[in-house]
């Protein structure tokens, strides 16, 4: 698959929000934008699932909404099968929306309470003018293991449990036979006993249908069940990209380390130290060009006021941190600049090693 083009390709994608009032404009005042997503570069290949992990406010939801086409990027480009989305016509957007489907976080609010399962599944079929409604609906309900479909198809959301609702959301995303699934914390609202079954279902469906997935979450302990590779995001920027198991075992960026060290461990015999990180993340406004994590980072150095480059730390992990490159020697081979990252050569190398480790 590495020879192929990525299904979705984000190149220095940027989404800034400017809250500029009319008065500011008249007086010619500059308002600093909120840099919700700041130069994010990610490639998503066929049948690959990539996680984006971060705390609230790190820009992961903005990124997802930009991917859905709900926000227009303020910079950079998004390519779908090689075509830049900024030049899409209305018809091309419709096609994009059919092929890129989303599963929302909250199954309790993302289903219309006045729609039966049938209505929920039928709507996308009608919008996109597909036929064989009944057959498609039955098949998709079987795929998400709501068996027998007849028993579920006329129910309203209130007649479904949380896990069943989330299965309906997944069915709604799958019924158009998309190429890409965008999943926004699909298990975080579910009880732990149902979480596992939804995760298993999602990863089996990915496999069977050759889907690609962007999986967005704050929960690092469940992400390993879905994603091959994850991007750790902090205040709008990706700070580390590693195979999932690698980042859990050996996080490279100080922020990834802090994040993983703070995950509670369900084992009373394990003595975990509480976090040493102080304070909370700031708003991504006027933070300058330096590393976004520098004010909370235990490893802070003077150089951190300069924007860190992405470097290949050990052939698997890529981190944007000054700790991992020699600033004296200007050896260009040691760096990975964004162009090389975007071309996918490094990412696919990472992926190949990650896959080999899995099996």
């Amino acid at each position: 698959m590495t020879e192929n083009e990525p299904v979705l390709k984000l190149e220095n994608l940027q989404k800034y929000f400017t809250d500029e009032s009319l008065k500011d404009r008249i007086l010619g005042r500059d308002v600093s934008p909120v840099r919700a997503v700041d130069e994010v570069t990610i490639d998503l290949y066929e049948n690959e699932s990539i996680g984006v992990i971060g705390e609230s406010g790190c820009g992961k939801t903005t990124l997802l909404r930009t991917l859905m086409g709900l926000y227009k990027p303020t910079g950079g480009e998004m390519y779908y099968n090689g075509e830049p989305t900024s030049e899409f016509s209305k018809a091309e957007w419709q096609k994009y929306r059919r092929n890129v489907q989303i599963i929302f976080q909250d199954p309790f609010n993302s289903l219309d309470p006045k729609f039966t399962v049938r209505d929920t599944l039928k709507e996308p079929l009608q919008v996109h003018g597909l036929d064989n409604h009944e057959e498609r609906m039955h098949r998709v309900l079987e795929e998400v293991q709501l068996n027998p479909p007849e028993q579920y198809i006329d129910r309203y959301p209130k007649q479904l449990s949380g896990g069943e609702k989330q299965r309906v959301s997944i069915a709604r995303a799958l019924i158009l036979e998309p190429e890409v699934i965008l999943a926004d914390e699909p298990v975080s609202m579910l009880d732990v006993s149902t979480q596992a079954s939804i995760l298993t279902l999602l990863s089996n469906l990915m496999e069977e249908k050759g889907l690609s997935m962007f999986y967005i979450s704050h929960d690092l302990s469940t992400v390993s069940y879905i994603c091959d590779e994850i991007n750790v995001m902090y205040l709008g920027r990706v700070v580390e990209r590693s195979p999932t198991k690698k980042v859990l075992r050996e996080p490279k960026h100080p922020y990834s380390q802090a994040l993983i060290d703070a995950i509670p461990v369900p084992d009373p015999h394990y003595n975990r130290e509480r976090t040493k990180i102080e304070g909370a993340a700031l708003d991504p406004v006027d933070l300058g060009e330096g590393c976004r994590f520098r004010d909370r980072c235990p490893e802070r150095m003077d150089i951190c006021d300069i924007k860190p480059r992405f470097v290949d730390v050990d052939g698997e992990s890529i981190a944007s941190c000054h700790l991992y490159y020699d600033h004296e020697s200007a050896d260009p081979a040691a760096d990975i600049d964004e162009r090389r990252l975007a071309s996918g050569s490094t990412t696919s190398g990472v992926e190949a090693t990650g896959k080999a480790g899995d099996n």
Binding site: E55, S56, S161, G162, G163, D191, V192, S193, T194, Q195, A196, S197, L199, T200, H218, L220, S221, T222, S224, Y225, T244, K245, L248, R249, A258, L259, I260, A262, I263, P264, V265, P266, D267, P268, H269, Y270, N271, R272, R274, T275, I277, E278, G279, A280
Partner: protein, 348 residues
């Protein structure tokens, strides 16, 4: 435990009046919390854990009632206390509460210091100056600059606001703190910051705590004892090591197996099919029966009682007719435990 326990629940049943009849939220629940002990109450949504929390501070919804059983605080039955008694005798100075960290537990238009002063004036005879001094001390305990007691709630981040609430909960030196999902709305780093301070309070040995949560890992890290609830019934209770090493109720060991542990990213997660029932009227069956792979007819005919698990000296209680066989069957069905070899988190 020769010392007087702080809190005892004895066969407590709590019901809500609904249009469809009496909904039983908590059914014959019993547990005991000793002085200085941190007690974790764990279960999924709707299991009745928050109903217990509300009952303990006399804040049960209007249609709720304690139908039977006894709740004793320091030996004194409190289940029939009136609102006035709760206010005068218990709230804040004896039992305080840390509610869910959902950012709206403080009055948004009142400085935090004024909210503290109000609590002091209603519940104690502290002067204004004494109250402020005490509150400043507590801000330092929870790691916020003392000058910030005069801030408004919106000036704090989520984690700081939750710590300010902890300062309020500690303010009048209560013997029991009820923390209902105190960090659920917080990010993991902030959650850890909050628990760092809860640890410190525990080391000082001042207060006991009931930690109510769906997250079993928080309890395993921070509590002494644990009770696991399923749909109104307490399935199993004991000290955390015993429950971790040797849980016997099918729900308890399955819940443990369903919980992801980032140290073992390859471990298969246990799936518990189905969902908890809605219990109307008297609950004379095990509420886990429809989800339990080990259930027999007996489980539908009467409710299992919490009984001492043989072979342990500690207070390890299990409410299951089939605890022995179920555990063995479960062990046999497990794939070979190779989790140790796939451990990835090679810390320390």
């Amino acid at each position: 435990m020769s010392e007087q326990p702080i809190l005892e629940l004895d066969d407590v049943t709590i019901q809500y009046r609904t249009a469809g009849g009496m909904l039983t939220a908590v059914s014959d629940a019993s547990f005991t919390i000793g002085k200085g002990e941190y007690f974790g109450l764990v279960g999924e949504s709707g299991c009745g854990k928050s109903t217990i929390a509300k009952t303990l501070i006399g804040a049960l919804d209007d249609n709720g009632q304690i139908s039977s059983g006894e709740i004793r605080y320091k030996g004194e039955p409190i289940q029939d206390y009136t609102e006035k008694q709760f206010n005068q005798e218990l709230r804040w100075k004896e039992i305080s509460m840390i509610p869910q960290g959902s950012m709206n537990n403080l009055d948004p238009i009142e400085k935090i210091s004024n909210q503290a002063i109000e609590i002091a004036q209603v519940h104690t005879d502290m002067t204004r100056a004494e109250a402020l001094e005490r509150f400043e001390e507590l801000f330092e305990v929870v790691g916020i600059q003392k000058s910030r007691i005069h801030d408004y709630p919106h000036q704090f981040s989520g984690g700081m606001e939750q710590r300010a609430i902890i300062a309020l909960a500690l303010f009048l030196n209560p013997s029991l703190i009820i923390a209902d999902e105190p960090t659920t709305a917080l990010d993991v780093i902030m959650q850890d910051q909050v628990f760092k301070y809860l640890d410190e309070i525990r080391e000082e040995g001042g207060a006991s705590m009931v930690l109510i949560t769906h997250d079993i890992s928080l309890v395993f890290e921070s509590c002494d004892d644990i009770a696991i609830m399923h749909s109104g019934q307490i399935a199993e209770t004991g000290d955390i090591e015993t429950i971790y090493d040797d849980s016997r109720h099918p729900y308890a060991f399955m819940l443990k197996g369903a919980f992801p542990d980032h140290r073992y990213p390859d471990r298969e997660l246990e799936i518990i099919d189905g969902y908890p029932p809605e219990n109307m009227g008297e609950v004379n069956y095990c509420t886990f029966v429809d989800r339990c792979p080990y259930a027999v007819d007996e489980c539908r005919e009467m409710a299992p009682e919490l009984e001492q698990w043989e072979g342990t000296e500690s207070d390890h209680l299990v409410a299951c007719f089939r605890s022995e066989d179920a555990y063995e069957e479960h062990q046999r069905s497990m794939p070979e435990s190779d989790s140790e070899s796939t451990e990835v988190h090679g810390d320390d």
